[in-house]
Structures are given as C-alpha cells and as structure tokens.
Amino acid sequence: MKTRAWIGPMLVALSLSLCSAAPAVAADECLKCHESLGGSIPALFRRDVHFAARISCSGCHGGDSSTDDMAKAMDTSAGFVGGSKGDAASMMCARCHSDAERMRSYGSKLPVQQWESLQASVHGKLSGSGGGNAVSCVTCHGAHGIVRVDNPSSPVSPLNVVKKCSSCHANAAYMRMFNPSLAVDQLEKYRTSVHGVRNAKGDVKAAQCVSCHGSHGILKAADAKSRVNPVNLPATCATCHSDASYMKEYGIPTDQYDKFSRSVHGVALLQKHDAGAPACNRCHGNHGAAPPGVASISNVCGTCHVLNAELFAGSPHKKAFDEQGLPECETCHGNHEIVTAGTWMLGVSDQSTCGNCHSADANASGFNVARMMRSLADSLLDMEAAAGKLVDEAEQKGMEITEAKFGLRDVRQARLQSRTVVHAFDESKFRAVVEKGITQAASVSHEASEAIDEFYFRRIGLGVSTFIITILAVCLWLLIRRIEARAK
C-alpha cells in the first residue's frame, strides 16, 4: 500500500526528467538501428500516431536517440528507462497526455484527463498483484502501433473495441482474479443484440462497450455516478435513442425516453430514485439488448409482476391474445409510457381498455364481465374512501381508532389485490377479493362511526355530569348558608 503511494509521484518525476523535450523523429538513430535488427516493432511504430507527430523512441523510452552510439543512446545516466509496464507505462503516456499545453503544441484536441479518469475507474482501482492498476493505457491502445480511435485498425475503434474488452472480460480465469461474480458472457450476449448484430456488420454507429460504459473512467454499475447505474441508464441510452438525426437511418421512434420519463416506472426511477424500478435494461436486456418479441412480453414484465403474469397465463385472454398476435401486457398497458393502473382501465367506458376489444354487440360476454368488474371495483373504491373519511373525522375528534386504521390498511390491501387478480379476468375470483375488501371497509366505517358517536356521547355525558355536579354544589352552598344563618 505504502509502495503504491510513493511510486506514482516518483514515476511522474522520472517521466518529467525524461521528457524535457520530445526528440525529433528525423534524428531517431534508435529506429534506424532497430530496423536493421528486424522485428515488427519498428514497422509498427512507423504507422504510429506518435511517429507522425515526430515523437522519437526516446520520447517514451528515454536515452538519446540522436546518437548512433548504442552505449550513449541507452545510457541509464542519460535517462534511458527501456520498456515500461503497467502503471509505469501509463505514467509515461500521462506525461504528455495529461499536459494540456504540450498536447496543444502537437495540435491535439484530445481530452487530458484520461490518466485521472483511469485511476478513478474500476480498472484503476483493481489490481491483480497489488503492484499496479489492472489496466494500463497499453492494455487497450497497444504500444508501438497506436493509431487514432476512428482508424479501423485501432484495437479500440468501434468495431474492434468489443473484441478488445472481451479479451479480458470473456476470460473467466482472468476475471476471477478481480471479480469472481462478474459474468463473462457479455460478448456472447452482445453478439445476439441488435447493437451487436449491426456492429458485426460494420456499423460503427451501433452501440458497443464504450458507448454505454465510457472509456477511461469506467465505473461499477452499482456506483451512482456510473453511466450504467439504473438511475443514469435511461439517459445513457437516450444519448443515441433520443437523437432523431443519429437514429434517422434506423427508422425507429426516438421518443422512448420522453415517454419513459412520464411512465410509472420512469417517475419511480428518475424522480424518486427508486433503484428497484426498471431502467431500459430490465426489459430490453443490457448486453443482449433487443426489443422483446410479442410472445415474450408477459415473461419480461413477469420478472417483476410475477402474479399478474401467472394469472394472465391462466386467463381466457391468453389464448385470445396469442391467436390474434397481440402483445400481452402491452396491449392494455402500453410499453414505454406505462401509466399507473387504475379502475379507469376496467369497464366499458371510452377510457377503459376493455372497450377496445369488447362491445355490447361483439364479445358481449366479456363486455358484461368488464362492466361488472368495474362496478365492483368502483364500489370498493367508494367504500374505502367513505371509511377513510370517517376514520379521519374520528381521528380529528381525538378518538383512539388505531384498529380502524389498521383495518383501513386491509381494505387498501384488498384493493391492491383486486388489481392483481383482475389479470385472471375471472369475475368470481375478482368478486371474492373485492367483496372481502368491501366487508372490511364496512367494518372500518362502522368502527369509525361508533368512535364519532362516542365522541358526541362524551360531550353529552360531560354536559349531564357537569350539570349534576353543579346542582350538587349549589345545593351544598345553600345548605352551608342555611347552617350559617341558623348559627347566627
């Protein structure tokens, strides 16, 4: 731990001493000599973005590249450091890439926080051996053949980066060293996703690892600042999916984020910061992201709404929906803009969803059941409201009605249960639950009414007892006066 604390500053100091000025590539004797020795490195370096910027070998390795005397060129006293690994290599890169002025002198517009971001990232914080970060610049960008990210030959170009990330992330034995519980099938899933399929076809616009996770400053998904944290994920997806011009060629809507923000899920997640509420990935998948098929919608929703899905699967609607190719939950509830379900959805009014398929002429049986269920639901709602009003009144009058309040919770519970059991589309089951709630509501109303009556009884009782006591007091006073008058 202590070693890591001082190694950073030491490397920075060493790097700065090495790079008083990057030697010009024209006089790079190192390159000449190494080319004569053969091997792939010189050839790679010749197409390196740094070579193009006239940075010589000594720019990273130190020493003197202007002399052909090997002893002088590779003299450690002259600052030669040779090949760097791990953090040392990253520090070497940071020497220029964290220096805004120097980067400007090379005409670069690249950000200069990569090293800081990497250090703060999950990769920067993890270490396999305790000697350095799990990932260094070289791990992803390579060493001698570094090219711009938009160059198709770059290992971190949009089409290659998936392969680069999975070189570690698909390696179970390697990943076990850092996070044994982390899945290693991201690449496999990604290849099944719409993004992955397009990426494989050469679509550089299709999202890949970096699009969602970021690059240098990747954080754990559980980190509140992570781009893929559930609360931040919709905005991350929206960077592409809400950009109409970016998405134009794909021919899909770009209003999902707006709709989701207004939905019951979006409000819970984005406004109330309820991490249990679903973000985009809970329905579409994350690495394997794709729109759920018609047949699988109830399974997707059913991962959270388990009972609703089970009841629907056993309902007469299941067969009917399947036959007509209707997406199950979505047909009534919609998709991105799912609003809070309520009694308004039931019945045969214009707003109800039942009326979309059922009418008095066609599907009359379902029409009648829908009307009856709405009537029952309304009754429960009215009874609950009336009971609540009475409980409030009794409470305002200072009466002790804790039990009635508990009873009111049971009524609410029955109402919520009715909202679940409605998915069975079975009038008798629905009626059983609703009538239980109605009975409970009647009991609560009765209890609250008794408490209110008791309140008035107490007032009357006080009046009567005060009157009696006052009469007694007056009688006593008269008696005292009579006794005292007699004594005189």
Partner: protein, 354 residues
C-alpha cells in the same frame, strides 16, 4: 332506626368522643383563610389519583412489550377507560399544582414556624414524593416522548458528582432506559411511592389535627376571635370546593383527553419538543441557560448543585427563619418567596414557549 344504628355503633366505637372533638374543632377566620382549602384540595386530588390509579392497574401491563399496547387497550376497548386515564393524568397535574399552592401559602403565612416545623418537613417530603409520582408515571405509557424525556431526566441525574452515575444506573435499572427502567418506575409509582406517601401523609394530617390550624403572624389569638366550626361548616365548604374541582377535572378530561403518542423505540431518532412535565420545566430551562463550563465546574453539575442547595435551604426555612418563630415579622422571607414564585413562573413560561 337511625338512633338504634347510632347506638349500636356507639357501643362498639366510642363515636361520642369523635363528635365532641369535632364540635370543639374550629378554623380561624382571617384574610388568608382561603389558603386552608388547598390542603384539602390536594388530599381530594390524591384520593382521585388512588382510585383512578387502581382502576388503571386492572388493565395496565408494566412491560416494555405490553405497556403501550395496554394503554391503547384501556383507551379504546375498556368502558370509560379513556375517562379514567384522562382523569388520572389531569388529576396528577392539578395535584402537583394544588400542592405547590399549598406549600407557598404555608410559606407566606409562616405556618412552618415553631411548633410546626415537622408539619412543614413532612409536607416538603410529600411534595417531593408528588414530583416522584409525576416523573415515574410519565414513563408508564412507554411512548416516544416519555421515553426520551426520561432519558434526558435520568441523564441530568447522572451528571452529579460521585453519586450521579450509581443514581442513574439505579433509576434506569442499567446503563440505558430500557424495559428494566419501565418495570422499576412502575414499581416506584404503584408501590413504593404510595406506601411512603400514605405513611407521611398520615403523620402530616395527625400533626395538623394535633396542632390545629396555624394562624398568621399578628393575628388575633384571643379565644373570642372570629372562627368557623370545622364540622360541618368548614367540612361542607371543603366538599363544595371538591365538587368544583371535580367539575374542572371532568371538563379537562373530556375536552382535552390524554394522548397516547407513538410507541417508544430506542433506535428511533429523538422527536422534537422533548421536555419534562410542566413542574420540572423551570429547572430544565435553567440548566439550558447554564454555560458548559463555569470556572472549574461543569455548568450542568453546578446548576443541579445550586438547585439542590436551594431546595435544602427552602426545606429548612423553619430553622433559619428565627424571627418568624419568635413572632416577629421577617420581610426577607417574603422577598425570597416572591423571588422563587416569579422565578418558577418566568422559567416555566420560557420552557413552555416553543
């Protein structure tokens, strides 16, 4: 029939003696005679406390798990349980008020002077026991406010030098306010304090009967001075006042019934507005104004010590106010008494304000 019954009793209990005693007993009449009634009012309220306390005891369960629930049961399910509890609570408050008024009237009338030193001392002990009743009873509903007020109250006791920590542990039945504290306070409230109170009250009343009513300094002491027969005149007036107090009690209990509050939870944050019962407020408020450190002493400790010394001096007034005992006027006693009354009133109001 009545004569026969009286004769039957008279044969077994010599009632004639009692009748003669009552016939001879007179209450002096003077400008301060009205204050005599507050002793009787205190006694009446104590009796109300005992009766309603016994009724509550039929349903109350003095344990951490059941105390709050049992009070809730009393308030909602037991016939007139709410009324009994409200009367018990209000009677407790009026009892302390009546005892305070009684004490100050005795003080300003110098009724503590020789030969009534013991009556004064027993009265003071009864006042402390009344405060003890209030403090121990406050915790019994085991609600949030009572829990934290008891915590604060016992914390204050705990800062006393030497005896503070053992006293706090003794009061709490441990280091913290727990179910053990509740059991302990319940025991004090329904057994220890009533037992002590009854014994000392008996002594107090016997002393009053033996010594007769104290008369103000300089009051006419000739045998033919204005007096009122104790029986039936004074007793009936006493009863009249008791009826008026009962009426007030009923109105307060019905219009302002006792609340139950939330059940105490040791892990919940302390609610706002924690304060003791009104009769401890002046001390509580004073301690708030004390600086953290006064010279070499902790401010709170100094405050408690000063209250202790003041209480002791107050209690020993018959022994240091020699002038009154000699029948001479002592204006300084009036000044001290007036200062204490004003101090208590002002600091109670300050403590009451939000």
């Amino acid at each position: 029939m009545t004569t026969k019954l009286r004769a039957w009793f008279d044969e077994r209990i010599p009632l004639q003696d009692l009748k003669e005693f009552l016939a001879k007993k007179h209450v002096p009449l003077h400008r301060g005679s009205v204050w005599y009634y507050f002793g009787g009012v205190s006694l009446f309220l104590f009796i109300v406390q005992v009766i309603t306390g016994i009724l509550l005891l039929l349903y109350y369960k003095g344990s951490e798990q059941l105390a709050w629930e049992s009070i809730q049961f009393i308030m909602s399910k037991v016939q007139f349980g709410w009324l009994v509890r409200s009367i018990h609570t209000w009677a407790a408050n009026l009892f302390v008020l009546a005892v305070f008024i009684h004490m100050f009237s005795v003080f300003f009338e110098r009724a503590y002077r020789r030969p009534r030193e013991l009556t004064w001392l027993t009265g003071m002990v009864l006042l402390f026991l009344a405060l003890g009743f209030g403090f121990s009873g406050y915790l019994l509903p085991w609600n949030e406010l009572a829990f934290f007020a008891t915590k604060v109250g016992t914390d204050i006791a705990g800062v006393l030098p030497v005896i503070g920590k053992p006293l706090m542990v003794f009061l709490r039945g441990g280091e913290e306010v727990t179910g053990a504290t509740l059991s302990r306070f319940f025991g004090f409230h329904v057994a220890v304090f009533p037992g002590l109170f009854t014994v000392i009250l008996s002594i107090h009343l016997i002393l009053v009967q033996r010594q007769g009513m104290s008369e103000p300094l300089g009051h006419d002491t000739r045998p033919n001075r204005r007096v009122m027969p104790f029986f039936p005149n004074f007793l009936l007036r006493d009863l009249l006042l008791w009826l008026i107090v009962l009426n007030i009690l009923a109105i307060l209990a019905v219009l302002f019934p006792s609340e139950l509050g939330k059940k105490a939870d040791a892990f919940a944050p302390a609610p706002e507005g924690i304060r003791p019962e009104w009769y401890f407020l002046f001390m509580f408020q004073t301690l708030k104004y004390f600086p953290a450190q006064v010279l070499f002493m902790d401010g709170e400790v100094l405050g408690i010590l000063l209250f202790g010394i003041a209480g002791l001096l107050w209690m020993l007034v018959p022994f240091w106010d020699r002038k009154s005992s000699r029948g001479e006027a002592n204006r300084w006693v009036n000044y001290v008494g007036l200062f204490v009354v004003i101090y208590i009133l002002v600091f109670t109001v300050l403590g009451w304000l939000p």
